[in-house]
Structures are given as structure tokens and as C-alpha cells.
């Protein structure tokens, strides 16, 4: 990959900033120190961790998801759209777009994700209950991510120039470590700690019975 485009360099610089910022944020969290359990585990915490990253992520695993499949589905599509947009960005940076049908598909996914992101943004703005504990970062993080997915999607469909995706990516990456998008890193340790906590106590994975029978 030969990078001559100043915007591409900008993306890489923003990526470095973002990675450094996330590493710094994680360092800050890990400075609180590990929890060394002294109570004897009742079950293998590893099973809890596996559950947390596996079956525990499925829509049937949580009542909150089962009863809000629309919001959950929109969230999942929003994330998939972001990943699709990242794929498009990589293609743009490499200067080698994939086969046209593939780009159309990935572009459509990014746009669908953006539409879901917009929907979630509207939901947050419209719901007094959600607004009550939302902060400006909730809106800005969504806007930057939604914008990036939308622009990348349109680039993939040939409706915008590659440079537009690079600009959107730079904005997103510059903001990423400052706001809640940093959950892209913290999600993983959080699921690990969650799985460990409930796993060692023998609570998760659940017994497999139908709890709602």
C-alpha cells in the first residue's frame, strides 16, 4: 500500500491518535488494579466468560433484548454498518475497491447501519426518559458514527468521492477516544469481568431451563 494522498495520511494519523487515546484510557482503568478473588469459586469462571461472549450475546439471553428486539436489532445493524464502513475505508485507503457487487452490498450495509444509527439518535432525542440521562457525547458519538457509515456507504455506491470517506473517518477517529465510542475497547474487558463474576458464582451460564415457562 502506497500512501500519497494527504487525507490518507490524515486517516492514519487519526488512527494512531485514536489507538493511543484508547490505550491511555485503558491504562487509566487498569490503574485501579485487578480484583484478586479469595472466595473459592463454585464453578469455572471460564464458562461464564464463554457464555458472556457467546450465548449471552444472543437476543434470547436477555429479557431486555427479548422485549426490545427493534432497538436491539437497530443497534446490531448500526454496529455492522460501522464495520462495513471501516471495510470501505480500508478499500479506499488501499485504492483497490473490490468487485462491484461486493462494494454495492457492503455499501448498502453501511447505509442501513447509518439509517439505524439515525433512528437511534431520533429515539434518544424524542424520549424524555432517555434524554434524562443522555449527555452531549451520546448525540455527538452517534452523529459521527452515523455520518461515517453514511458517507462510506455512499462512497461505495459511487455517489461520493473517496476523500469524503477519509474526512468522515478522520473526524470519527479523532473523537473516538474522548467519548463513549471507546466502548469499542471497553466492551471486551467488561464482558470478561461480567462473565467472570457470574461464572465463578455458578450463576452463568444459566441452568438451561426455560425461565419464563
Amino acid at each position: 500500500m502506497e500512501i500519497r494522498d494527504p487525507l490518507a495520511l490524515g486517516v492514519l494519523a487519526a488512527l494512531l491518535w485514536s489507538a493511543a487515546g484508547l490505550a491511555f484510557a485503558w491504562r487509566g482503568a487498569s490503574a485501579f488494579g485487578p480484583r484478586r478473588y479469595r472466595s473459592k469459586a463454585a464453578a469455572d469462571p471460564g464458562r461464564g466468560v464463554l457464555y458472556a461472549f457467546g450465548a449471552g450475546m444472543l437476543p434470547g439471553a436477555k429479557e431486555s433484548v427479548r422485549t426490545h428486539l427493534g432497538s436491539w436489532g437497530a443497534g446490531v445493524l448500526f454496529h455492522l454498518g460501522t464495520f462495513a464502513a471501516l471495510g470501505i475505508l480500508i478499500a479506499v485507503l488501499c485504492g483497490s475497491a473490490g468487485p462491484r457487487p461486493l462494494m454495492m452490498g457492503v455499501g448498502a450495509l453501511a447505509l442501513a447501519g447509518a439509517a439505524c444509527g439515525l433512528g437511534l439518535l431520533v429515539k434518544r432525542a424524542a424520549s424524555p426518559h432517555l434524554r434524562a440521562f443522555s449527555v452531549p457525547d451520546d448525540f455527538l458519538s452517534n452523529l459521527l458514527t452515523t455520518g461515517f457509515s453514511a458517507v462510506a456507504g455512499l462512497v461505495a455506491l459511487g455517489l461520493l468521492k473517496a476523500a469524503d470517506a477519509e474526512v468522515a473517518a478522520i473526524l470519527l477517529l479523532l473523537y473516538l477516544p474522548l467519548g463513549k465510542i471507546r466502548h469499542c475497547v471497553f466492551f471486551f474487558p467488561t464482558r470478561f469481568f461480567f462473565g467472570t463474576f457470574f461464572g465463578r458464582r455458578g450463576v452463568l451460564p444459566p441452568a438451561g431451563r426455560d425461565l419464563h415457562a
Partner: protein, 448 residues
């Protein structure tokens, strides 16, 4: 409302140094797990309906993410760079009297630390551990509802949270021993106290000797029927630990240590925890963390023992006995935070053909509303009773005549719900159900 004035006065008297010290306590209560949780909540709000407070009163303040946000906003301001540099954008807030008041309301006033929101969190944030750290900070600054603190103080000064004296306890046990002999027809039946070298040392919720001695008698009947080597200690018998709810790890450790000392003093092999949810979570899961050492003995729940003895045939039950329709309440600290989910079900399935589960149940069961020290905080009684409406409705839907609850704190709350919501149910411990089902002694076993 009682106590509100005292808390308000304490808030107003707070100095910057008090606030700083409290934040230091909060900081000390966090580990990388909690720091990670506080960086992960995305404010999706899907946790709302997992909370019995929100279901009973749909105001934003009752949404778990809203409660967490009160704490997270301060965390961001003090412990993250972006929160320090961009407080308005990130919603970071300074730690001041207003936020301390917000913490009191969120951590003490609107949460029973039941953890149902955590299982339903889309990312897996364990909110109770954060709110408990917040409670610890508030407690260190004297910003704890006085009646909750009094419960801790009473336990520290008298050895149990009901202030039962040693003499009263021993006298109650002696009276129950007489009852046991009468019920079993066995004049040698005993409820041993301070029996050195007994296999099992049994600990109870002080509500049993104080208000519900028949619960203690039921467990004694089970031990007797199983022919177990057991004892109650005259000191260190209270398994409750309200330090878990105040967040005061030092007090909690001191309370837990009383049981450890009783085990060492009497040389028992196994600590048996009675029917008390938070007592189990405290003694089984938290005590080693508070005391900084592993249990040097086995710890089991009485439900595990009863289940095992029934399975092994050590407890013989009357096949004709039918306790009627009954349902089971899952105490949060026993099931969701304790991992004791199946033994009570196996026992009830064996003894009660008309056992019916609540919906939902197990680790997804709703809190009765009395957990997290709520029973001890009179100023929040109205909220507690309202939040308990979710449990009342769960019970009503089962149409069961009896609610079995392996937790005496839950039983207190269920009794209030029974009255306020006119449920018309009986409420029993598991041991009471088992004791009622025990086969009468064979004629040759009865000594005239």
C-alpha cells in the same frame, strides 16, 4: 419522612475535605472491572424495564442507567482525561453536595442492589458493584440513612443486628429444644449450643430467634431427623451482614469475622448458612474479600444440606403429606448473586406436587423490594412497597396459596406485601416446608 432532615443537615455540613475523603473511599472501592464498567455504559436504556423500581414507577430516575450515570459523571470528571478536559461534552460533573445528594437518592433510595439490571445490560455492566462503592463513599461521609447505619452499629456492638443478648439467645434455644422434644417425641433431641467438634456450625438470621422461632425449630427438626452432628454458637450465630448494604468493608469484615471466630473456637468443620440471602452472599462470597483470606473451612447453604439429605434418604418424608400449591421466591443475593438456584427447587419438586414457578424465576426473578438494606431504611418505605408491587403481581399470577422464601429479609417484605396487596398467601421458609413433610418417627423410635 424520618431521617431526611438528618441527612440534609449532614449534607449541608459537608466540608470540601469530607467530600474529598469520601471520593477517596469510592476510589478505593473500585478495581479495573468497575473502571471498565464505568467506561462502557452506552446509555441505551434497555435496562429500564429490568428494574422493579422503574416498572412500579416509570420515572427516569428509576432507570438503572440513570442511577449509574450519577456515579459515572463524577467518575469521568475525576478519573478520565476527557471528562476533565471536556466536562460539558462528556457530561462529567464535579463532586459536590448536589452530586452527593444525587448519589444518596440513586444508591440508597432507588436501588436494592439486586443486580437484575446487570443480567439485562446489553454490555454487561455490573451496576450493584458501582452503587455499592458509591454507598461506601456516602457512608464514610456520614451520608447513610441513620437506621441502616444503626443496624450495622447494633450488630457490631451486640453481635447480632437485633440486639439479642447471649442469655436471651440461649434461653430461646433451650425453649425450642423443649419444643423439639415434644414434637419429635424424642426426649434426647437436642439443639446444641457451643458443642465443640460438631461437624456443622449453623448460623441464622436474628429474625428467627427474635420473631420467628418456629423457623429455627423447623431447621432443628431437620438436623435432628438427619441425625447430624451440629451446633449453634452462642456468639457468632448471626449470618446477616448489613455492612454489605452500607458498603463499609471494615464493618462488614468485622461482622463476618465473628462467624470465623466461632468456627475456630468450636473446631467445627463446616459452616452452614441459614435461610438469609444477603447473609449467604456476605459469608460465602464477600467475607474472604473483606477479610483478605480464604475460608479455612467448608461453607454450605442449609438448602444444599437438606437437598442432599433428602436425596440420600437421611430425611424421610411422609408420602401422604401434601403442602398444597406453593411457589418459590428467589432471593437476589442467594440466586442471582449467590448461585444457589437448584437445591430449593429439587426439594420443593420432591415435596410439593403442586409447586409452581413464578414468571420469571431463577436468576431472572424480581427482587421482593426489601433487599439492599431497604427494609432498614424507613424513609424509603413508600418506594419499597411500591417497587414490591412487581413481586406481588408475580405471586398473584401463580395462584399459589403458599410462598416459600429462603430468606428472612425477603419474608419480612413478603409479609408486608401480603398485607398491602391483599395476596392472602402463607409465607414459609424451605426448612418449614421440609419439617412439615418429615415422616413421623416409627413407634419403635419413640421413647415414652
Amino acid at each position: 419522612m424520618p431521617d431526611v432532615g438528618a441527612l440534609q443537615a449532614r449534607l449541608e455540613a459537608l466540608t470540601p475535605e469530607d467530600l474529598e475523603r469520601a471520593l477517596g473511599v469510592f476510589r478505593a472501592g473500585l478495581r479495573e472491572a468497575e473502571a471498565s464498567y464505568l467506561n462502557t455504559c452506552v446509555h441505551c436504556g434497555l435496562c429500564a424495564e429490568s428494574c422493579h423500581y422503574y416498572l412500579s414507577e416509570r420515572v427516569p430516575e428509576n432507570i438503572p442507567a440513570h442511577k449509574l450515570e450519577q456515579v459515572a459523571a463524577v467518575f469521568r470528571r475525576r478519573f478520565t482525561v476527557s471528562g476533565r478536559l471536556l466536562p460539558a461534552l462528556t457530561g462529567a460533573k464535579a463532586w459536590d453536595r448536589a452530586m452527593a445528594a444525587a448519589w444518596i437518592d440513586a444508591a440508597f433510595g432507588r436501588c436494592s442492589l439486586c443486580g437484575r439490571c446487570s443480567l439485562n445490560c446489553t454490555v454487561g455492566v455490573h451496576i450493584p458493584s458501582i452503587l455499592r462503592a458509591a454507598r461506601a463513599a456516602l457512608t464514610s461521609a456520614g451520608l447513610i440513612p441513620q437506621d441502616l447505619q444503626s443496624t450495622v452499629d447494633l450488630a457490631l456492638s451486640t453481635g447480632n443486628n437485633m440486639g439479642v443478648s447471649r442469655d436471651d439467645f440461649v434461653e430461646t434455644v433451650q425453649w425450642l429444644e423443649e419444643e423439639l422434644r415434644g414434637e419429635t417425641g424424642d426426649p434426647s433431641a437436642r439443639i446444641p449450643v457451643d458443642e465443640p467438634g460438631a461437624e456443622f456450625l449453623f448460623t441464622v438470621n436474628p429474625r428467627e430467634p427474635k420473631f420467628f422461632p418456629l423457623s429455627l425449630l423447623a431447621t432443628a427438626r431437620v438436623f435432628h431427623a438427619a441425625g447430624a452432628s451440629w451446633t449453634l454458637p452462642s456468639e457468632g450465630w448471626d449470618l446477616t451482614n448489613y455492612g454489605l448494604f452500607s458498603g463499609d468493608a471494615q464493618a462488614a469484615g468485622a461482622l463476618a469475622d465473628a462467624m470465623w471466630r466461632a468456627m475456630a473456637r468450636l473446631g467445627c468443620r463446616t459452616l452452614v448458612l441459614g435461610e438469609c440471602g444477603h447473609g449467604f452472599a456476605s459469608a460465602r462470597w464477600e467475607a474472604p474479600e473483606w477479610l483478605g483470606k480464604e475460608h479455612p473451612f467448608q461453607v454450605v447453604h442449609i438448602l444444599d444440606l437438606m437437598n442432599r439429605w433428602l436425596r440420600e434418604g437421611r430425611l424421610r418424608v411422609d408420602p401422604a403429606h401434601d403442602p398444597g400449591s406453593l411457589t418459590l421466591h428467589d432471593p437476589c443475593n442467594l440466586v442471582r448473586h449467590g448461585g444457589i438456584r437448584e437445591p430449593q427447587r429439587r426439594i420443593l419438586r420432591r415435596l410439593a406436587p403442586a409447586f409452581v414457578e413464578m414468571t420469571p424465576h431463577g436468576e431472572e426473578n424480581f427482587c421482593c423490594g426489601g433487599g439492599g438494606g431497604q427494609l432498614a431504611m424507613a424513609q424509603y418505605r413508600d418506594r419499597r412497597m411500591k417497587a414490591g408491587g412487581v413481586k406481588a403481581e408475580q405471586i398473584r399470577r401463580t395462584q399459589a396459596k403458599t410462598v416459600v422464601a429462603p430468606c428472612h429479609n425477603c419474608i419480612d417484605q413478603l409479609m408486608e406485601l401480603n398485607k398491602d396487596y391483599k395476596l392472602g398467601v402463607q409465607i414459609k421458609t424451605v426448612a418449614e416446608v421440609v419439617a412439615d413433610a418429615l415422616a413421623p418417627p416409627a413407634p419403635d423410635e419413640v421413647t415414652p
